[in-house]
């Protein structure tokens, strides 16, 4: 059966070139970057080249990039590392109600360690208000973290304005952006946007899993969270993941090729899809439409059908998507984002996420719409009474 993969915000298929680069690094450049001999040097050259590529794409300095094991570690390093290093200046942290768990749970950990946390609400589209942020900033605020693109409903947060609000209040307050869903879809220049720290993951941009990076402005002091051999200037001990890092850098480079055309195409597909969905009875789109939303994420709530059932029904037709929140009778894992935008209770368990990539075709969108039209009336026959 042909596959329609619309779960690209969960993870993506690697580019064939990336696969080749990873294989090459594993087979040829297998040295340890810390080794003094030629093999070590070859491996180091791979890392340096990757650093160079990524620094160029973000317009930052090479030394401002720390390679990590992925998005979660990048977020943890940014938040825990910055909070620990700056706690003498204050212990107040600010974040939003729609963050990924890698930020949310790290913030709660810091709260347990004696930090104070303010969680900013969002409006019905998931936007954080710069004015609300301005008002939340206190004397002892040291760190603000707001995501670039929301992973569930695609909201593009006004990070430039948020960063500006933060730095106008006090320049030394750090602004972190989780850009895991945004990188590779937007040209992100942290210095221009006023972002002090930025998290990125490799596998959301057709790169390998288990690798990511954190940009940290050279003026920012953070403490490492991993201790050991002092790799990467002591900021992230652990032998560098040469295949992963090379693969990620190449994936980023490919993603940036014709980026504007690719995102324009995704946006057109999204447009087509959302319009189609809105014509199906009892369906609604969550999150902002137009430029306020990311080009590749569509959140759909479907009245009267449980997300997990629809997900598996689509799966039977070879269409792979995500459930907004997991269907479970004993442990309702309700999505914080969907709750924060005020989605009616009965829809929390009826929300699916469709996420596209540059490989997504118009035909696939049409087939998915067709499948929804066919399945929904049938599934709606059976509901709990």
């Amino acid at each position: 059966m042909r596959e329609i993969y619309l779960d690209n915000s969960a993870t993506t298929r690697v580019y064939p070139e990336v696969l080749e680069a990873v294989r090459h690094a594993m087979e040829e450049d297998y040295g340890n970057t810390s080794s003094l001999h030629q093999k070590g040097l070859d491996a180091e050259r791979c890392i340096r080249q990757a650093r160079d590529t990524l620094a160029r794409l973000l317009k930052v300095q090479e030394k401002e990039l720390i390679f990590t094991s992925g998005g979660t570690e990048s977020d943890n390093l940014a938040l825990i590392g910055a909070a620990m290093a700056n706690q003498r200046a204050g212990k107040h942290l600010i974040t939003s109600a729609v963050e990924h768990a890698a930020v949310g749970a790290a913030m709660r950990f810091l709260e347990e360690q004696g930090f104070e946390l303010t969680v900013l609400p969002v409006d019905q589209y998931g936007f954080v208000s710069p004015e609300g942020l301005r008002q939340a900033i206190r004397e002892d605020t040291i760190l603000v973290s707001v995501m670039y693109v929301n992973n569930e409903i695609g909201t593009v947060e006004p990070v430039a304005e948020l960063a500006k609000a933060v730095h106008e209040a006090r320049p030394e307050i750090l602004f972190h952006a989780d850009a895991i869903q945004a990188f590779g879809k937007y040209r992100i220049y942290p210095k221009k946007l006023g972002i002090d720290m930025l998290s990125v993951s490799g596998h959301k941009i057709h790169g390998p899993k288990g690798v990511g990076f954190l940009y940290v402005d050279s003026r920012v002091k953070i403490r490492p969270i991993l201790y050991g051999g002092g790799h990467q200037n002591g900021m992230r001990s652990g032998t560098e993941n040469v295949p992963g890092v090379s693969g990620m850098a190449l994936a980023a480079e490919i993603a940036y090729r014709d980026l504007d055309e690719k995102t324009a195409r995704m946006r057109a597909l999204k447009q087509k899809f959302t319009e189609g969905v809105k014509q199906i009875e009892g369906c609604r789109i969550n999150g902002p439409e137009g430029e306020g939303g990311a080009p590749h994420i569509v959140s759909v709530s479907v009245e009267g059908v449980r997300a997990e059932v629809l997900l598996h029904a689509l799966e039977e037709k070879g269409i792979f998507v995500s459930a907004g929140s997991a269907c479970s009778s004993n442990k309702p894992a309700v999505s914080a984002t969907l709750k924060a935008i005020g989605l009616p209770r009965e829809l929390l368990d009826s929300t699916l996420r469709f996420s596209f990539c540059e490989y997504t075709t118009e035909e696939e969108i049409e087939e998915t719409l067709l499948a929804l039209k066919e399945l929904l009336p049938r599934l709606r026959l059976f509901r709990r009474k």
Binding site: E308, V309, H312, E316, C327, R384
Partner: protein, 394 residues
């Protein structure tokens, strides 16, 4: 002290009269099966009413105990020192040396329990008890005798070709060896109760097959995988389990369409029992096993149980029928199925569960509702049975 031999004690097998050898052979077979996945080389042998496990070379003691403690029919596992008969002097030396090694702190009480099946041995049991006791007292001044409640019961068995010295008995799971009591079909869901029920019936020597009702897209592949995992966990005790996976979606939807909503669960369960019994017949099973416990949910009231039971002609074994939930959980924790059972994948999506299901179904009313299904149901059941997929879980 490192042991290389273990004496396997069994309880109920001993009372099975002329069939005793059948039970012993089954136990030997089950022990061999359990040890196949254990690191090390072992021989399992049966010698004059005793079963021994001997390790050849290196092995992991903890792992061996864990494996043996999963073999039904074993009452206790005794690490044993085996010596050849080289006269009483040698025996006395060996016994003293055994105590020396087994009890670092000699401030304990003991009692010698000697037996001889080799009636030609120069000393009888009473003499052996007294003389060996004296040797031990002589060797360790701090040790005391207590014939009523000794800290250490030192067994010395003089057999035809070997002498066994042992004092420790590690409890086994009890029960009877699997394969000595026919085969039954377990209705396995993803919950806590049914794996426990399967374990308990297997413990009585019954071989287990299992049936699972899968309802895609209402239940996920992960829920199915979870049931396969549970069957594998049960198979660590019961031996390999043939898991029959029945696609139940169409029947479920048909019932939903044709029958009153509050009766869905009861009618569904009645069809599950019918299908399970049909597969049971085809696979030489002689009974059904369920994890039902009186009053736990609406479909497990006495009235509901009677209504589901009415469709079967085979006996239905419900070993946890009188257990409280916590008692079932305790067993699940002990046998290691609990963690898997509580994984949050639904095995039966709640769409098919009425908010207010009948708790006291009237069988006549249920039968009347089922008549609405007459047109297609027989064919659907036949297809469900025929298309069941079988997964070998071991």
């Amino acid at each position: 002290m490192t042991f290389t031999a273990f004496l396997i004690k069994y309880a109920e097998i001993g009372i099975k009269g002329k069939n005793r050898f059948l039970f012993e052979d089954a136990l030997v077979k089950q022990i061999r099966r359990a040890l196949r996945q254990t690191e090390g080389e072992f021989t399992v042998s049966k010698a004059s009413g005793r079963i021994y496990v001997e390790a050849e070379g290196d092995y992991d003691y903890e792992e061996l105990m864990e494996a043996l403690q999963r073999v039904f029919g074993i009452a206790a596992i005794c690490p044993v020192v085996q010596i050849q008969d080289q006269g009483y002097e040698d025996l006395a030396r060996q016994v003293v040396s055994y105590v020396e090694q087994m009890v670092p702190d000699k401030k304990i009480t003991f009692k010698v329990d000697a037996r001889r099946s080799n009636k030609h041995y120069p000393k009888n049991s009473m003499e052996l008890n007294a003389d060996l006791g004296e040797e031990i007292l002589k060797a360790f001044p701090e040790i005391r005798v207590d014939v009523h409640k000794p800290d250490m019961m030192l067994h010395v068995e003089i057999r035809e070709n070997v002498i066994n010295i042992y004092s420790r008995a590690i409890p086994g799971p009890g029960g009877m060896p699997v394969g000595t009591n026919g085969k039954a079909m377990l209705l396995l869901s993803g919950g806590i109760d049914s794996p426990v029920a399967g374990y308990m019936i297997a413990k009585r020597g019954v071989k287990i097959d299992a049936v699972y009702f899968h309802a895609p897209p209402y239940t996920s592949e992960r829920a199915k995988q979870k049931v396969v995992d549970l069957a594998k966990l049960v198979s660590r005790y019961s031996g390999p389990v043939n898991l029959h996976i029945v696609n139940f979606t169409d029947i479920q939807l048909y019932i939903y369409e044709k029958c009153p909503h509050e009766e869905l669960t009861i009618i569904m369960r009645r069809y599950m029992m019918r299908i399970a019994e049909e597969i049971a017949k085809q696979t030489d099973c002689l009974g059904l096993i369920t994890g039902e416990s009186i009053g736990q949910v609406a479909s497990q009231t006495v009235q509901s149980l009677a209504a589901t039971n009415a469709v079967c002609t085979m006996p239905v074994f419900r070993p946890v029928i009188g257990f409280d939930k916590q008692e079932i959980v305790d067993v699940a924790l002990k046998i290691g199925t609990y963690e898997t059972s509580v994984l949050p994948y639904e095995d039966c999506c709640t769409i098919f569960v009425a908010k207010h299901p009948v708790t006291k179904p009237n069988i006549k009313v249920i039968q009347a509702s089922e008549r609405n299904l007459e047109e297609k149901i027989e064919e659907m059941v036949r297809i469900a049975v025929e298309t069941a997929e079988t997964v070998w879980c071991k």
